[in-house]
């Protein structure tokens, strides 16, 4: 196995002056270790998926019944057993997509004014945005609740959309600024010499460089909005309830049905898993606020 890896990467920098055989054996051990660690980390997820496809009787056994016959009963119960999960799932989708769109709409121009044509003291502005992220969100919970109560916005999905926008805007401004700084100045100058307007410059010079950045930003904002629990729990009730809130109430009202719970947890996580796996590299860029490319 290690021979194959060595030939696969002829530029490997690990050409240590160690006898070949010993190095190969060490490499095989490290490969094995990497696989074991990877499997250990993914195991709870696999266990969740496997349990969701077991019958309730086989889901909660000790020792675990790994090879029990598969069943979709858990999913049937989840989708048509009690309260329908569709409204909360759609609410989550609405809140995540609309807040992400709003974040992009606000953050891209702001990032432009912090990188390409920077305002004076742009670093101060940038750190103001980050500092809002450090303040404990829970401190804003009560005023927002009281405001919503006064304006009859409680249990209204728009309140969550506005809140999620503010929650993700600082991250998006940092990320977009980092990506916009990649736009080569010479090209911008050349474009303006040629008399290209802002829109044209945007389209032909800035967009190609920045599109991957927008995708990374959108992915991160979508995931964070989809995952949020605290505010959704306090600010929504039956109408605007989101999927994470539904998950918690689902457990208390249903007692405990492990297969059904695992099915529910898997369904709610599925959009994030799909988006995250499809865009692994974007995930890294996004998580590091664009500082790792």
């Amino acid at each position: 196995m290690s021979v194959a890896t060595e030939t696969a990467t002829p530029t490997s920098h690990r050409a240590a002056p160690v006898p070949g055989k010993r190095r190969d054996r060490g490499g095989a051990w490290l490969t094995l270790l990497a696989w074991v660690v990877g499997i250990l980390f993914v195991l709870p997820v696999l266990w969740m998926v496997l349990t969701s496809f077991h019958s309730e009787a086989n889901a909660a056994t000790n020792p675990p019944s790994v090879f029990a016959p598969l069943s979709v009963k858990g999913y049937q119960e989840f989708f048509s057993g009690g309260a329908s999960p569709w409204p909360p799932l759609l609410n989550s989708l609405t809140a995540s997509i609309l807040s992400t769109a709003l974040v992009l709409l606000l953050s891209i121009p702001a990032a432009y004014a912090l990188s390409i044509k920077p305002v004076r003291k742009w670093t101060d502005v940038l750190f103001f945005f980050l500092s809002t992220k450090m303040l404990p969100v829970v401190a804003g919970l009560l005023p927002l609740y009281l405001f919503a109560q006064q304006t009859h916005l409680l249990d209204n999905i728009w309140l969550l959309i506005i809140f999620y926008t503010s929650m993700n805007l600082p991250i998006a401004v940092w990320m977009m600024r980092s990506f916009l700084s990649e736009v080569p100045v010479e090209m911008l100058e050349a474009a303006s010499m040629d008399g290209a307007g802002l829109i044209k410059t945007m389209r032909s010079v800035i967009a190609p460089v920045v599109m991957p950045g927008i995708a990374a930003t959108a992915l991160i904002c979508f995931i964070f909005s989809w995952n949020e629990l605290l505010f959704a729990r306090v600010l929504t009730a039956t109408v605007a309830e989101t999927a994470p809130v539904f998950l918690t109430s689902f457990v208390t009202s249903q007692g405990l049905f492990l297969a059904q719970l695992c099915a529910a947890a898997f369904v709610v996580s599925l959009p994030v898993l799909a988006a995250g796996f499809a865009a692994q590299d974007k995930l890294v860029q996004g998580l590091s606020l664009g500082s790792v490319k």
């Binding site: 709870p44 009560l142 590091s288």
Partner: protein, 321 residues
């Protein structure tokens, strides 16, 4: 908008003479600021105004159960916050939880990043497997750990213990009740599982940005693996370690989902967000919840001032334009 911006573009090249009329210069400055304003105003309204409201409410005697007895309370709420044993415990729990999760997941993340930095068969597959925990919705992950893994009767952990003990012919495997015997560690482990992939991704990106020719040279000069790691890899990774620690702390300090789901804040696991949520949501003591929030905000500002200096050192190499 277009014409103003064009004006601006030309302004940079031609007309930005020091002697230009002040009015024109001011309008140019405003044109530069214009794209920034919507985001800035939005953030100030949505995040700063609520804090002002919190500050005002913190000086009021206001409990939603007695809405008619709302009045000015001076520093009474703050006195209660500072003398409240639960609050002090919550501060300590928050510190332990955050430091524990960040440190353990950083160390694990570093080890795994080093493992994944060398080419081997199936590296992409292992990386994909490693990312999975981070992509499970936090509440779902907390529920999964609480019910499918930690459960003393049919959880996977005790199930595996049963397997192992049977393998050696014993019928009396230990069946610990994980959550009630080590509640804080139960929360920490579940969070470490979710955050190690995050640290690993950032550190792996850092490792892959290392200057390989220098390392190669050091190796030829006879430097050992450990020597290279300590004197070259670690210093290079420093800023990535700092970035991971900072971002991890920002998110984990605020953790609500895991504490709420796994222990419901019981058994000494109530951190600050959960405690404030409880004062507000269950005790309906708006005044005290606000005072607690104000204290936490002030504490955060003090800590964040230091943290921000760290981030600044991360980004200072980037030249501004």
């Amino acid at each position: 908008m277009t014409s103003v911006a064009e004006e601006l573009g030309r302004g940079e090249v031609g007309s930005a003479r020091p002697g230009a009329p002040g009015v024109a210069r001011r309008s140019v400055a405003w044109a530069r600021r214009a794209p920034l304003l919507p985001a800035l105003i939005f953030m100030i309204i949505v995040t700063q105004l609520p804090f002002v409201a919190t500050l005002v409410i913190s000086f009021m005697d206001w409990n939603a159960y007695y809405p008619d007895e709302r009045r000015f309370a001076g520093f009474a709420n703050f006195r209660r916050v500072f003398t409240d044993v639960n609050m002090r415990d919550a501060v300590w729990t928050t510190v332990l939880l955050t430091a524990g999760v960040v440190l353990i997941s950083l160390v694990l993340g570093l080890g795994i990043a080093l493992l994944l930095d060398r080419p081997f068969r199936g590296r992409g597959a292992v990386r994909t497997m490693m990312i999975a925990p981070f992509l499970v919705v936090p509440v779902a992950a907390a529920l999964l750990w609480k019910h499918a893994l930690y459960n003393p009767e049919y959880g996977l952990f005790n199930g595996v213990l049963t397997w192992i003990w049977r393998l050696f012919g014993s019928d009396r495997p230990p069946q610990p009740d994980w959550i009630s015997t080590m509640p804080l560690w139960a929360v920490i482990f579940a969070l470490v599982w979710q955050w190690t992939p995050f640290m690993m991704l950032i550190l792996l990106a850092g490792l892959q940005g290392r200057p390989l020719d220098v390392i190669e040279a050091a190796r030829i000069d006879g430097a050992g693996t450990w020597q290279i790691f300590r004197s070259m890899t670690l210093p290079h990774l420093r800023q990535y370690l700092e970035l991971g620690a900072l971002l991890g702390s920002i998110y984990i300090v605020q953790n609500f989902d895991a504490v709420f789901t796994i222990t419901s804040g019981g058994l000494g696991t109530a951190n600050l967000p959960y405690t404030i949520y409880q004062i507000f949501y269950q005790a309906h003591d708006y005044g005290r919840a606000s005072a607690a929030a104000v204290v936490v905000v002030i504490g955060t500002i003090i800590i964040a001032t230091f943290a921000l200096r760290t981030v600044f050192s991360l980004f200072r190499e980037e030249p501004g334009r």
